[in-house]
């Protein structure tokens, strides 16, 4: 009885998260938690690893039974063949350009538009925002036929801009930026700035943008990853090998009468490398941003 009361007092005494004791009351983390998490992590990584195994051996390794799980020494050679079969370096560059412009463009445009929807008052604001919301539910594939017609009338078939421009407008980005600014940017700040005579652009540049920058950065990252991995639209638009993105290039490796699996695997692995590389540097930000987005959203 006395213990319960003491316990209750102790609970009540915990005022803020900062004074929470770090240790879980039940003790250390059990070994099986690590086992399961390790299993999940290895499942996540295994396909990439196996890709590397095949890419560094030869085609036959993919169909070997019992399966081969150890890398071979052939990777450099395979890479060479990939680069000479499709213009792979060019396709990586194309992907970077497309994904970079889309990611950066989305971040900037959606921050700007999100600011306007969140903090400025103008006629039609709610109606326009509702339209944006509604279109989030519509699948991209719905519009590919007319989109293709528009692109071909603009003479943008088989060009990078034919892939970039349709990918720039992200309804989700608007939604998220607006949400973020509405919850984190203090109206008081804005009121004070207006009293000082600032116009909306100065408010955006001096106040809103610094606040939204981390989220915009994450939005840009997400846009980058999505655009990098996008397959359908580039597949329809791009025709000449020198315009291929990485995804189309590795699918081209698969698309022939002579199916060279080692080649396809090497190409697939290589296509993941640039993104892994970027991920290595900004991965933590991406994780934080995804989690923060969930929290604020």
């Amino acid at each position: 009885m006395a213990e319960a009361t003491a316990e209750r007092q102790r609970v009540a005494a915990r005022a803020t998260p900062e004074t929470r004791p770090r240790r879980r009351r039940l003790g250390r983390v059990p070994w099986w938690v690590y086992a399961i998490l390790g299993f999940a992590a290895s499942l996540s990584i295994f396909p990439l690893y196996w890709m590397f195994v095949v890419a560094s051996t030869n085609s036959a390794a993919a169909t070997q039974l019992p399966p081969r799980v150890v890398p071979g020494g052939n990777f450099a050679h395979m890479v060479g063949v990939v680069f000479s079969t499709v213009p792979f370096a060019q396709s990586i560059l194309n992907s970077f350009i497309i994904a970079g412009v889309i990611g950066g463009g989305q971040a900037v445009m959606c921050a700007l538009a999100g600011f306007a929807f969140a903090k400025l008052r103008f006629r039609g604001r709610n109606a326009l925002f509702l339209i944006v919301l509604l279109t989030m539910t519509v699948p991209a594939q719905l519009s590919i036929i007319p989109q293709y017609t528009i692109i071909s009338k603009l003479n943008w078939v088989d060009t990078l801009q034919g892939v970039i421009f349709p990918g720039l407008a992200s309804a989700f980005g608007i939604f998220w930026m607006r949400q973020y600014l509405a919850t984190t940017m203090d109206d008081a700040l804005m009121g004070a700035a207006r009293i000082d005579g600032a116009n909306s652009w100065q408010i955006f540049w001096r106040i809103a943008f610094p606040i939204v920058r981390p989220a915009a950065f994450v939005l840009g990252l997400l846009g980058f990853v999505t655009a990098w991995n996008d397959f359908l639209w580039p597949f329809i638009v791009l025709k000449s090998p020198e315009n291929y993105t990485v995804q189309i290039a590795i699918q081209a490796l698969q698309r022939s009468y002579t199916v060279n699996l080692g080649l396809a695997m090497a190409g697939s692995f290589l296509s993941a490398v640039p993104l892994l590389f970027v991920f290595f540097f900004v991965g933590r930000r991406l994780v934080a941003g995804i989690m923060e987005g969930a929290f604020k959203g």
Binding site: A41, L128, I131, S143, G191, V225, I290
Partner: protein
């Protein structure tokens, strides 16, 4: 949705007329987005509805046929086949994914977990791997004759499974690909949700004598409700649009199996539009898909919010 209840500027200042450029500034800010959105988002959507009323062979000509395409659609067994496939793939990929994510998030939430960042980042690796590369690998892993997974399963039960040949088995392969790709992302979302639940709630509950299971159902799940709803809606919308996996599972074909056993609606749309070159009919399929997504998303939303209300 938030309301802007904030400190208002003094009443006098509020009546100062904004200068003309100021009044149009907001439109300037949203213009870049809306221009692009209008050309490449709204207009094609509207135009798809229009095209669906025509029969259009790109090598030939366009003829107006009214609702004929939709009539054909309703009696087209391939359309219904694709619809069934789409819904079952969605179900097979969403339910396990959300459950796995919930479980993993719970484990990752343990305080004092070492290598937390390593686990989180490794779970995101599938997300950044491209769909094309994923499909090529999984196609091999699940190959009926020489696949690693097929072989592994024969160690338990004799006969190798011909994954692509069967309806359920081919859809399982696609579902596995989707689950593999998205579980990590969803886990992080749930993890964030878990971390925002104040620990006092749990401590108070344990003091009150609630066991771990009660804590889970009475505290964790209700607090995670918004995030769970969000993931259900987004995976509904995304899952119903599955395209790349079925396309690459049967290389060289847009049917996904000779009996179309894993052909989704989007793939059927693509087949009719860009392989059979029936642009009008393809657009009609697109319209039907749109309706299905709206209906299912609305049902999901209603169900999930109603459940919240029931508590």
């Amino acid at each position: 949705m938030t309301t802007t209840t904030a400190i208002r500027p003094a009443p006098g200042l509020a009546r100062i007329r904004e200068s003309l450029p100021e009044r149009f500034a907001p439109y300037a800010y949203i213009a870049p987005f809306f221009v692009l959105f209008g050309i490449f988002g709204l207009f094609p959507m509207a135009f798809t509805f229009v095209i669906s009323l025509y029969e259009w062979d790109p090598l030939g000509d366009k003829t107006f046929v009214g609702l004929h395409n939709f009539n054909t659609l309703l009696t087209d067994p391939r359309f219904w086949n694709a619809t069934e496939n789409t819904v079952s793939i969605w179900f097979l990929s969403t339910v396990p994914q959300l459950l796995i994510a919930l479980g993993l998030a719970h484990l990752l939430h343990a305080a004092r977990l070492r290598f937390a960042n390593f686990f989180r980042m490794s779970l995101l690796v599938p997300y950044i791997t491209s769909t094309a590369a994923t499909a090529i690998v999984f196609l091999q892993l699940f190959d009926a004759h020489y696949g690693l997974i097929t072989w592994f399963l024969t160690l338990f039960d004799g006969n190798p499974i011909n994954w692509l040949a069967g309806r359920l088995t081919s859809q399982i392969v696609i579902a596995v690909m989707i689950i593999w790709r998205w579980s990590g992302f969803t886990t992080l979302l749930y993890l964030a949700g878990l971390q925002s639940i104040p620990r006092e709630l749990y401590d108070a509950a344990s003091v009150d004598g609630a066991g771990r299971w009660r804590q889970l159902t009475n505290i964790t799940v209700p607090s995670l409700r918004p995030v769970i709803i969000f993931t259900i809606i987004t995976s509904t919308i995304g899952g119903l649009q599955t395209f790349t996996e079925p396309l690459l599972l049967d290389p060289g074909s847009t049917m996904c199996g000779p009996a179309r056993q894993c052909q989704t609606l989007t793939l059927y749309l693509y087949e009719q539009g860009f392989t059979d070159f029936k642009f009008g009919y393809g657009a009609a399929i697109g319209v039907a898909l749109f309706v299905i997504i709206i209906v299912l998303a609305a049902i999901n939303f209603a169900l999930s919010t109603r459940l919240r209300g029931a508590r």
